[in-house]
């Protein structure tokens, strides 16, 4: 059952990723990206990682997409030209993509061979669950958690200072 789900989601995720890259209209591209993020989030859910799935939705499908849409709206619908700004970007990108594919492929292949098809996770149940992470944030990592809140405040003040017009 999980496997069928996985294949459907995986095919849709790949299609949405292709749609994002090939879309002529920037807004369409961003919408394809939202679909892709949401599909990947469901994949995380299938992998028993509800926290990462929620973060994926909140941070990527939420905040980052809003940012992208804002930028697209601010600069307006610019027709995408197929000419490269940086020479040699395409072959290099292709090469990097191939290397990444090989790397991920080899990891999957090795894992499948050594684990005999079924990959068993060596972590205890409840690892990475929202409860476990929440508990760590309020016990062991309380201090970094509090510092992060101050950093966000400082960043917000900074953004206002730089964004405000004149005096």
């Amino acid at each position: 059952m999980d496997l069928i789900f996985f294949y459907i989601l995986a095919i849709l995720a790949v299609l949405s990723a292709l749609g994002m890259v090939t879309a002529r209209n920037a807004v369409h591209g961003v919408l394809f990206m939202v679909a892709n993020f949401a599909l990947v989030a469901v994949l995380y859910l299938l992998l028993d990682a509800p926290f990462i799935a929620m973060v994926q939705i909140a941070v990527y499908a939420g905040a980052i997409i809003v940012l992208f849409l804002f930028v697209v709206m601010l600069i307006g619908p610019v027709p995408t030209s197929l000419r490269d700004k940086l020479p040699g970007q395409r072959p290099l990108g292709l090469l990097a993509g191939l290397v990444l594919l090989l790397l991920i492929g080899s990891v999957v292949a090795v894992a499948t061979v050594t684990a005999g098809g079924g990959i068993s996770s060596g972590v205890a149940s409840g690892f990475g669950s929202p409860q476990a992470i929440g508990e760590l944030l309020f016990t062991r990592y309380l201090y970094p958690f509090e510092i992060t809140s101050v950093i966000l405040l400082a960043a917000m003040v900074g953004a206002v200072v730089l964004g405000k017009k004149g005096q």
Partner: protein, 485 residues
């Protein structure tokens, strides 16, 4: 039900006081009328001095809280005092500077206070995660403060350059932290040390991690070859902010560097020692030689700060109790000398116009004799002449190096200080032996003038007192050793 571990708020009180002051300053900024903004400076001073007084009550205690993420020891406290002193002097400088240039905004002080919090977090960090967060809390306000003189082009350029390169350096730092975690299985500094002592680690990953960490931190304290941003940012940023960056960021960066190198990865000292020694030599030499060619006083001081980073690296390389205490002592002296020199640059300006070229200082001794004399003291101290503090500071570092068998490094450092005399003396020559060009520049007027004079007074007193009577401060630095519980 989660049980929250006990937190000793008294131990982190100085940090809390600074943080609360930042919030209060921002709130008061909303209700204060525009011409009463000087009160925000008074409020900031109140908070900073309060934090300092609370800090004195903690002196001598050795403990940790927040599950070992916050370490209280004399080392962290000594550096906290340096940061707070730097912040106090910066606030004193800023009142005149910002009102002359129409940059009076409450967020200025709040951002300075946030940056000081970041420095304090760095110096008391017991965990690499906290180190990283502290550096970010220090850097973010500084990126904004560098661009505070917007829409001045230099200022925007400085902010953008600092931001892009700083983000890049943070990436290196984070990558280094991850590799060290991978090699040792911990981000806690003391646990890393104990894993390394047992020898149960992955060496290649560890060395790569240390190298990347050095790149990231080397950027923050502007060590050659990661220094290229320094002159541009120091030149473009508002002078008061530059003074804060020169004195504060460097002290905070070295605090982290000392704690990581002399506690966490001390067991593999043989591996990183050559790297630090070479960085020290290159940094001193490039900094001093390039400073000679500078015509702009802020750029000259920027290269001088790079050279001084090299001297402090000599102390780091020396290591041990002598190296640590001489580094702390030098950071204090360094803060006074540089804040003082930048304070003179601010005090010598006319309205919004600054004397930026060294040529502009021609004949200053005739127009503003006291100011010229003060500048001469700072220049002599930076060059390391007795009876100023710069001499004593360099002496303690060189002694530490010789004691720890790094005589060759001490010799190179001495040769470098000889080279540096050239460009520091040049400022004095211009002030005393050249005719002034153009009409005389009037003194700064306004409500910040008295505070600027006070800042200059503190710096002069610091440089002379530490030069003539260094013993009490140096003895305090000698007890400011790292907590290795």
């Amino acid at each position: 039900m989660i049980t929250i571990p006990p937190v000793h708020l008294a131990v982190v009180a100085p940090l809390l006081v600074v943080g609360v002051t930042a919030l209060v300053v921002m709130l008061c900024d909303l209700v204060l009328p525009a011409n009463e903004r000087t009160w925000l400076a008074y409020l900031s001073l109140f908070g900073l001095i309060g934090a300092m007084l609370i800090g004195t009550q903690l002196w001598g205690r050795q403990t940790s809280t927040f599950s070992g993420m916050f370490l209280l020891d004399n080392f962290g406290l000594a550096l906290t005092f340096i940061f707070l002193t730097v912040a106090v002097i910066t606030v004193l400088l800023s009142v005149a500077y910002t009102s002359d240039r129409g940059l009076v905004r409450g967020e200025f002080y709040a951002l300075i206070l946030f940056a000081v919090m970041g420095m304090m977090i760095m110096a008391t960090a017991g965990d690499l995660i906290v180190v990283f967060l502290g550096i970010e809390l220090l850097s973010l306000p500084l990126y904004v403060l560098s661009g505070f003189a917007r829409p001045a082009r230099d200022s925007i350029e400085a902010a953008l350059k600092y931001f892009l390169l700083g983000a890049f350096a943070s990436g290196f730092l984070l990558y280094g932290i991850v590799l060290i975690f991978g090699a040792t299985g911990s981000t806690n500094l003391l646990q890393i040390a104990s894993v390394l002592t047992k020898g149960a680690h992955n060496s290649v990953m560890l060395y790569a991690g240390i190298a990347l960490l050095l790149v990231g931190l080397g950027f923050k304290v502007s060590v050659v070859p990661f220094h290229q941003w320094t002159p541009d940012v120091y030149e473009g940023a508002p002078t008061a902010v530059t003074a804060f960056m020169v004195a504060g960021t460097k002290a905070a960066g070295f605090a982290v560097l000392l704690r990581i190198l002399l506690v966490a990865v001390l067991p593999v000292r043989d591996v990183w020692l050559p790297a630090i020694a070479i960085l020290a030599v290159v940094t001193m030499t490039v900094g001093n030689v390039t400073a000679i060619a500078q015509q702009n006083i802020k750029r000259m001081l920027a290269y001088s700060s790079i050279a001084h980073a090299g001297y402090i690296l000599v102390a780091v390389a020396a290591g041990g109790a002598a190296g640590t205490s001489s580094a702390i002592f030098y950071l204090l002296i360094y803060a006074f000398m540089n804040l003082g020199a930048f304070a003179v640059v601010i005090a010598a300006s006319r309205g919004g116009e600054e004397r930026l070229a060294i040529r502009d200082y021609a004949g200053l001794a005739r127009q503003r004799p006291v100011l010229a004399a003060i500048m001469a003291i700072f220049m002599l101290s930076l060059a390391g002449f007795p009876p100023t503090a710069g001499f004593v500071g360099k002496l303690t570092i060189f002694q530490a190096a010789v004691q720890n068998g790094l005589t060759w490094l001490a010799v190179i450092a001495v040769l470098n200080s000889v080279v540096s005399v050239f460009y520091y003396a040049r400022v004095i020559v211009f002030m005393y032996m050249r005719e002034p060009e153009g009409e005389p520049w009037p003194a700064v007027a306004g409500d910040g003038r008295r505070m600027l004079a006070l800042a200059l007074g503190i710096c002069v007193a610091g440089v002379l007192l530490l030069g003539i009577l260094p013993t009490p401060a140096y003895q305090a630095a000698q007890t400011a050793l790292l907590n290795i519980l």
